[in-house]
Symmetry: C2
Subunit: 199 residues, 2 copies
Amino acid sequence: MNKEVQLEAFRKGIAQFVTFNDSEWEIFTPYVSFSILSKKEHFAVEGKVCDYMCFITRGAVRYYHIKDGQEITGYFSFENELMSAYKSFLKRTPNTNYIQALEETSLVMISHQNLQQMLNHPILALKMERFGRLIAEYYICCYEDRVTAFITQSPEERYISLEKTAKDIFQRIPQHFIANFLGVTPVSLSRIRKRTLLQ
Amino acid sequence: MNKEVQLEAFRKGIAQFVTFNDSEWEIFTPYVSFSILSKKEHFAVEGKVCDYMCFITRGAVRYYHIKDGQEITGYFSFENELMSAYKSFLKRTPNTNYIQALEETSLVMISHQNLQQMLNHPILALKMERFGRLIAEYYICCYEDRVTAFITQSPEERYISLEKTAKDIFQRIPQHFIANFLGVTPVSLSRIRKRTLLQ
DNA sequence: TGAAATCCTTATCTTTTGTTAACGTTTTCA
DNA sequence: TGAAAACGTTAACAAAAGATAAGGATTTCA
């Protein structure tokens, strides 16, 4: 996929937040860069400050923590979604988790430095503030749902609703990663699946 | 507490996000209003769109869902914190949970309509976009930590870290609400407390 | 002030999850 | 291609959590 195509996908993907007219887009695009992660390559690691906010044009990544030497996967991002070690990127603090490509993954990237420059750019500033606000608000809503699921649902109920809303994820992501994401061990998810199949 | 005092507390409380100079503040303040919730009064209920974003100058509230006729408390907010049915307020969709005062609670409020006016105000716009962005980013970081706790920690570990970071909450909030917040039943939290005391 | 409601603990029993290990299948990659 | 790694399932046992009910203390509020 060449850069023009990726930029178009990016422009379309962020249109839910903010739309740039052609002259704004011309100012905007020089601030972005491109990268490809090979499978299993890390985009972010514990202890380092994350310098990029990304848009995935192809591929998938997982976010995981290491606790007692064990990897625990907390989240996934796929093509046409944003990806970053958000907290580290925003606060400029060392990252506390890892982000790793599950497949070969293509990225459109904005560095923190370039984002600051755009936030100070006379023409782009207001739109970029709004862009940042709407992205953050979007993720707050996602997080709200996710926390609500942990509070109000059992692991089995969370599995069932994932199965309903994103069945294809099971064809694409190893099941033991999904288990972590649901808040249980891989063994437990295997049992839940058997249980719910029988019912 | 009179309005002047509350406004000062508000101004100080949001200084972590954005600071207004005196002339900006003079434009800003007419857009805010005040309210008092008596104990057990609801600020937000399921099915209604939340029209206000608030700053608590005194008191405390809990956020809860009703599932199978049972109330499940998911979060709390206290004085000098922001409070809103955020998702409903932002998306203008019916709220899916309840917010109720745990004590008599004083609020400084901004209506959605007034917020939109400020976002269109020539002088305030940029600062308000930034304000909104920084608030949202702040809450994203909070949510990130909360989800991480559910993924990587057991209920007992979550209890222990709450006990470390916010011991005073146990003096102020009924324990069965805290149990829900930690993702367990009240009976289970009682057992966890006994267990961790003995160790 | 006194009855009702709220709240925490404890006990009992059931269900679910965690832990560890083993096994067979599939995938990976040198 | 072939050995190693990764993966999902199952079993067995231990630990934890859910559900329900009962009892006693505290708080609420008419």
